[in-house]
Symmetry: C2
Subunit: 519 residues, 2 copies
């Protein structure tokens, strides 16, 4: 089936069609890069890595060059003239605007800075790996200092917002303002710290059975079954295993997820699959008319994706993983199936014990192993530090000390060494900042889930009887179908009547942990 695409002849004039043709080719390059990346993480023989990096780089540069080419500029100008008479709010204005903004964004960043960043990233990654192996931050510090310097140059060139960190965030969470983050994170800390402390003094539920031996094959089958159950469409996607789980979209019709499996810790594969399925369902829900257009292409981040921001994307994955997948109702409906799949391992486990075990919370040093409640503290401390690093108010040499103090403040535990502290994440070695999208996603998830159930009683009724279609339909209508047409905040205000609001998330966390821990 060939779907209608904006910009085909007949719907608009030739100039707009020409713009859609060139942006379609940009999407092709970026989609191809996604496929190569997926392949290198799932299918490629190890020796293939020799040339794969160069191939992906060539595609990414080709996309950027085509975007900033005279051909695209001319097509844009002609298209803008041609569509100027269309009513405000017409999607074609948005398409053209995305292209214009992206060209202006890329033009601001000198190629020489990009090249220096890329060269440094290679060196810095190796130094970071050495430093982590030796658990010695000082090995990595000089490279990190240089990376921050380059990031500051980039921020100055981008020149968006009132703080250099806002310029850097623009690629991931456009429109994010530091002062809003301050308010949001402040309220989250105030609401969540008492929970963390109360749990610290409460008795932990039983969880021994999660660590029994669960054969990988059975786990994968069960996780895929549950992912399909909530709405992941395998006719338009794939599910594979890999060391680092991820979701990647090529088009709404080809969205692939992966998970990792531990045979001695069952939640990893299962909730990983629900999480990635949530990401996948966002992409699978994008309006088919947006395929290959700027509304399914991040022209600023140079990534073929239909979701509008990393935070918005995380809202969908977290909603399905946590709000739905770790709920009482979900396991009231599916614990029997879990027992069918894992009869021996769950023989002595009740539904209630299972529910409590998968919602257990315990502060830990490592972000990627953190539970739902403590995860946000890992994010908040990184956001504090990134922002201070970027504006120069925190010197690189003082980073381990600052990190350890934050962990103590937020998670009430002592950092044992740099490897399990400030060196645990790879991101900064590549100059990547912007961990905040995870917490933005959590907040947004609760807000959407709250509104959905309040607006339409059929949604909760569906969840009560394992019918996830009403919720999926609501999310498709309010979020997924729009692709990149609206900003994250526009999307949220259209859907819930207000911008990011931490209250539903705090209410949800308080309710759940009070129940699990009898607080």
């Amino acid at each position: 089936m060939k779907t209608r695409q904006y910009g085909e002849k007949g719907q608009t004039g030739m100039a707009y069609a020409q713009l859609m043709d060139v942006t379609g080719r940009i999407n092709d390059f970026l989609n191809a890069a996604n496929i190569l990346n997926w392949d290198s993480r799932t299918m490629m023989p190890r020796a293939g890595a020799e040339t794969r990096g160069q191939q992906v780089a060539t595609l990414s540069v080709a996309a950027r060059d085509l975007l900033c080419s005279d051909e695209t500029r001319r097509a844009l100008e002609s298209a803008e003239a041609e569509i100027s008479g269309l009513p405000e709010g017409d999607v074609r204005h948005t398409m053209a605007q995305h292209v214009r903004e992206a060209i202006e964004y890329h033009e601001r960043i000198p190629t020489s800075v990009l090249r220096r960043k890329e060269e440094l990233a290679g060196v810095a990654h190796d130094l970071w790996a050495d430093a982590r192996a030796a658990s010695d931050f000082s090995i990595f510090a000089p490279a990190l200092e240089k990376m921050i310097e380059i990031n500051r140059e980039m921020a100055a060139a981008i020149g968006i917002g009132s703080h250099p960190y806002e310029s850097l965030l623009h690629k991931l969470e456009p429109g994010t303002r530091i002062e809003d983050l301050d308010v949001l994170f402040g309220r989250l800390r105030d609401g969540m710290l008492p929970l963390v402390r109360a749990i610290g003094e409460a008795e932990q539920p039983r969880s021994d059975f999660l660590y029994r031996h669960y054969p990988a094959k059975d786990q994968l089958a069960f996780a895929l079954k549950m992912a399909k159950r909530i709405g992941f469409d395998t006719d338009r996607g794939r599910y594979d295993t890999t060391v680092h789980p991820f979701e990647v979209s090529f088009t709404r019709n080809d969205v692939r997820i992966t998970t990792r499996v531990s045979e001695n810790y069952m939640p990893m594969c299962l909730f990983g699959a629900l999480h990635e399925a949530g990401h996948a369902m966002y992409e699978q829900g994008v309006d088919p008319a947006y395929t290959r257009t700027p509304l399914a292409t991040d022209l600023i981040g140079l990534y073929a994706v239909g979701g509008v921001s990393y935070g918005a994307h995380e809202s969908q994955s977290r909603l399905w993983e946590n709000q739905v997948g770790r709920s009482r109702e979900f396991w009231a409906n599916h614990f029997g199936e879990a027992r069918d799949a894992f009869g021996d391992q769950l023989a002595d486990v009740s539904e209630d014990e299972f529910f409590r075990a998968i919602n257990r919370s315990m502060p830990s040093l490592i972000r990627v192993e953190a539970d739902e409640l403590t995860y946000d503290f890992h994010i908040m401390l990184r956001t504090d530090i990134e922002r201070q690093m970027t504006d120069g108010s925190l010197a690189v040499k003082d980073l381990p000390e600052a990190w350890n103090a934050k962990v103590k403040e937020y998670l009430c535990i002592d950092v044992t060494d740099d490897a399990n502290g400030v060196l645990q994440d790879v991101h900064w070695s590549g100059g990547q900042v912007g961990f905040c999208n995870y917490t933005i996603g959590n907040v947004m998830a609760a807000q959407l889930f709250d509104t959905a159930r309040a607006e339409n009683p059929a949604i909760q009724q569906g969840l009560d009887k394992a019918d996830y279609k009403p919720l999926q339909n609501w999310l498709n209508e309010k979020v997924c179908q729009h692709g990149r047409r609206y900003s994250r905040d526009e999307l949220l205000i259209n859907a819930t009547g207000r911008a990011l609001d931490p209250e539903p998330y705090l209410t949800y966390l308080t309710g759940k942990y009070s129940e699990v821990y009898g607080l």
Copy 2:
């Protein structure tokens, strides 16, 4: 491990390095297209096809545009000046020459002709499918007429050789001359027809056991085992299943093969695997220094490949599949393993019976199902017809009649209908001609195999004891390592002292079929 590449700084000057950089990027685009094509035939959910064609087309056009760009031209001119003092025969001259020839080739073909061909190919494919379904050539004939007209325009534009067919063959088998093909095919016909006729009167060996039920899983395991045995390196490749078997190389370090499996006909998967492994070993043997260079990129055919022509490639696949894989020695060594894998199915079968069954010959209507001996007649009749279509000496309306007469002449059987006759292959609907490479490959395989064993007794001694390394080493030295450095004929003359010579192939066929059929 990072391998040395021609064109890195330090080895030659900046201009040559610049040429290698730009041709490296062309290779990246074409490699990416290969990965996308592999993926679409093995991994992609069906719905993904909607955008995949556009993605591959964008990459292919990007490769061509970059090749013919001012950037490449300037790099070529500067590089040619820079290397002009290097001795004749230096590989860098060959690199530059490949680029120049490819630019000149593509420049000759007007974009408008390419576009018309592409548009027609879409329509013609559907009409061919309709015609085949109805077994009615007249449905396809008007589209084929137009396609031939476009091919004649292309041939005139390319202007290579003395016959338009030679221009069209240039992409697949550069340097092929009609008069040489006439001599070659004439001698093959004279030598092979008596064999076909004698076999027609002889008693067929037993082959019932090949059609027993062989579970797909066991077949794949055994086929992969045999492919690795002859030298396919799975550390630098993959083996998957698909409906249409193929080999595809991304680089010498990532070469992927596929086969299809019939649970009721065992040779398909096994010999398919040996055949594709032969192709793969050609690519895996290319000099690592040629990675991403014009010596591992077909800049004329716009395909990332290290083998020098389709015929040369076929020589490697046919050598391993037929000369080695269907030999007495091979099954003297491996029949025990086949019995281990398929105990029930081969319980009542002797090694001699197995050897005869897999070498059975019987004329049939369908090329892709033909045996080793009759396959070449399918090729020769297509070559006769393609050539006559191209020069206009055979009218499209007379094609079924000409086809049926040739089948009668070469294979001594009557064509039942168009679907099993002139309409069986998809190629012409896309304007593709050049079936001759299969027969060229067979001839070349026998010639190489003959010389190898005559030159080095260790090769036959190796084959006698299932040690395939001496043969692989010889082929690597004489053929594979050179990539696209030498033409097919140069390669053959360097290796065997002469150009294509049908005698070793005829001797081989006569010997084998005399033995199998007791002629």
